[in-house]
């Protein structure tokens, strides 16, 4: 399979005077052409830092990419100079941000904002770029005549459509969507996700979708990776992880969702809080909250290992070295 994005062993720290915050601790990810990968995890798990690293946009200082390699469409991102980075951003990879309310410049018309990256990357004249911008607006379901309007004249859902139009204008190979629907209400969420799915399928693009909503992952993604405290604890196809989950943290996430089949049942939240990334516990970072943890868990950081020899499904949990170990959810056959 042709890979659009290949991250290997990425380590990103935020080094301030008071603390050395280990935001991302050696993650490896790959996204194939036309695939959508969902990156799931709590706030502070390092999802956004991972996404920013792909564009080499981690705020520096205090952010430092300490280790690893990022290959985007065959080019090593971390070895690029500023000019190459500027040429890559927006053209090969584009990003959709979380909050559409603040993601548009209030003093420029939306047409100008879509046209901006076209002028920059595709060497278009302002007139050509504006024409293309109108096409893009039509593509995301907004009337062309509205290209001359300012962002405050649009609703939240429409602003997010404009943001999508900006991101897709140059037909990037990879689209990074950082919680694109968190700020929208549920019906608009569904519309925007549907739109993104269609556009990506029609344009042979790959997408990295960052979210904390498992529902969104099930809806849109092909593959998924679960992040906890800067590490990937489980990854696989959506089917692998949803129907055959292996990591106690993944189980915890699913247990905190209401069950449609058994309504009225109490939710089982994961106890405790995520550890402070400036002071991670030894061994498995989830061990202090894990109902299955033993002393062995704190001895060493578990590596990602294939689940039953699967080529797609990997889990990083030491417990599987114990014979006969299975998650309660899998035992009960829920």
């Amino acid at each position: 399979m042709e890979l659009v994005l290949d991250i290997k062993d990425l380590v990103v720290h935020y080094e301030t005077e008071d603390a050395d915050v280990a935001a991302v601790n050696g993650i490896s990810l790959a996204i194939g052409k036309k695939r959508t990968l969902g990156l799931v995890g709590e706030t502070g798990a390092g999802k956004t830092t991972t996404a920013l690293s792909i564009m080499n946009l981690v705020p520096d200082p205090p952010g430092v990419i300490k280790n690893g390699s990022i290959t985007l469409a065959g080019n090593d991102v971390l070895a690029m100079n500023d000019e190459q980075l500027e040429a890559m951003r927006g053209n090969d990879v584009a990003m959709i941000f979380q909050d559409p309310m603040t993601a548009l410049n209030p003093v420029m018309t939306v047409g100008e904002q879509i046209a901006e990256s076209l002028e920059l990357h595709q060497n278009m004249t302002p007139e050509e770029a504006l024409e293309k911008a109108k096409e893009m607006l039509k593509l995301v379901g907004i009337a062309e005549t509205r290209a001359y309007d300012y962002p405050h004249q649009f609703s939240g859902g429409m602003k997010q459509r404009v943001v999508i139009a900006i991101a897709l204008a140059c037909s990037p190979k990879l689209l990074i969507a950082d919680e694109p629907t968190t700020a929208l209400d549920v019906t608009i969420q569904a519309q925007v996700l549907e739109l993104m799915k269609d556009l990506i399928n029609n344009r042979d693009m790959a997408m990295l979708l960052i979210t904390h909503s498992l529902g969104v992952v099930a809806e849109v993604c092909d593959d998924m990776a679960v992040m906890y405290a800067g590490r990937i604890v489980e990854k696989g196809t959506v089917d692998d992880v949803f129907n055959n989950m292996r990591h106690p943290y993944t189980e915890g996430l699913f247990n905190s969702l209401p069950n449609l089949k058994e309504q009225g049942e109490m939710l089982e939240p994961i106890k405790g809080l995520m550890p402070d990334p400036a002071d991670l516990p030894p061994g498995c970072a989830f061990a202090p909250r894990c109902p299955y943890a033993t002393e062995a868990c704190t001895a060493a950081v578990p590596e990602l290992e294939s689940v039953d020899g699967s080529a797609t499904h990997f889990v990083a949990c030491q417990a599987y070295s114990r014979p006969g170990f299975a998650l309660r959810r899998n035992k009960d056959g829920k």
């Binding site: 564009m55 946009l57 980075l85 500027e86 040429a87 890559m88 951003r89 927006g90 053209n91 584009a94 990003m95 941000f97 979380q98 909050d99 603040t102 993601a103 548009l104 410049n105 209030p106 003093v107 420029m108 901006e116 990256s117 920059l120 990357h121 300012y150 405050h152 943001v163 900006i166």
Partner: protein, 279 residues
């Protein structure tokens, strides 16, 4: 959007009065060289008609050398406008550059630039201008430079504060992600969003600069005599205030109304540009 602001501005009575007065002032400044001959009407002395009260022939009366005060006040608006616009414009450019560097890059740049600005800010404006003018010599251009320094420190502070709040907004981040070079982001995305405090500050600063220029002329280190700068007119008339008070009152009123008009306009603009006050 600018149309909307304009509508809100012309609903404000004070702003309309201010704008009308300023428009008249600009017209006066533009047409006065065509009405009056500088050599003959403005600076030519005629002691036979000195210290006359306002009359049909001399609308504002005459001064201590028999010069027509109406011609001098009209002509003086040229100095006031040139000096205030010149020094505010100069200060705007320098202050905006300094403020955006300090606000955008932060850290050392911010400390170095802003501590420098603080030092200038801590010296009273008039004192600072006196020092600069006495260093450079008395001329209209040097007066502009001296006043521009105060304006620049004002702008640097305002621009820095606005840039700091805007640089962390998501649309700035997304323009990085779009591959825009930094200078373009500052010029296209950050500075246009700082415009409203800058505009308001400009109207208010022009007012204070007119007063400062007049004060310096009053002290004798502003525009050199016999040019009819308003402050100089005021200063010249001060020994005759008991016998011909109009020599002081009329240029004083000219200064007062101009500054009042600028303040009215500034207040109106501030309200019109603030979307939170939208009704």
């Amino acid at each position: 959007m600018s149309q909307e602001i304009w509508h809100r501005l012309i609903k404000n009575k004070g702003a309309v009065i201010g704008m009308t007065f300023l428009a008249l002032l600009v017209i006066a400044a533009v047409v006065s060289p065509f009405i009056f001959d500088y050599e003959k009407d403005v600076i030519n002395q005629n002691l036979a008609i000195k210290l006359q009260a306002p009359s049909a022939q001399h609308w504002f009366g005459t001064d201590e050398y028999g010069r027509d005060l109406f011609a001098r006040v009209m002509y003086g608006s040229r100095y006031s406008i040139a000096i205030s616009v010149g020094s505010v414009g100069f200060g705007l450019i320098v202050g905006t550059i300094l403020g955006s560097i300090a606000g955008f890059y932060g850290g050392y740049w911010d400390s170095i630039i802003m501590r420098g600005v603080d030092i200038f800010y801590s010296i009273p404006n008039i004192l600072k201008a006196v020092v600069i003018v006495s260093m450079l010599g008395t001329s209209t251009f040097n007066l502009i430079i001296a006043l521009a320094v105060s304006c620049a420190t004002n702008y640097a502070r305002i621009v820095r504060a606005s840039v700091m709040t805007i640089r962390d907004l998501e649309y700035v981040e997304s323009s990085y992600a779009m591959g825009l070079p930094t200078w373009k982001i500052i010029l296209k995305h950050i500075l246009p969003n700082c415009l409203s405090p800058i505009i308001v500050q400009t109207t208010l600063l022009i007012g204070t600069t007119i007063i400062a220029a007049s004060s310096l002329s009053f002290l004798g280190i502003g525009v050199p005599a016999p040019a009819p700068e308003w402050g100089a007119l005021l200063s010249g008339g001060r020994s005759y205030i008991r016998i011909a008070s109009h020599i002081c009152i009329i240029p004083g009123l000219a200064i007062m109304f101009t500054v009042l008009a600028l303040n009215l306009l500034g207040d109106g603009l501030r309200d019109a540009l603030d979307p939170k006050l939208k009704k």
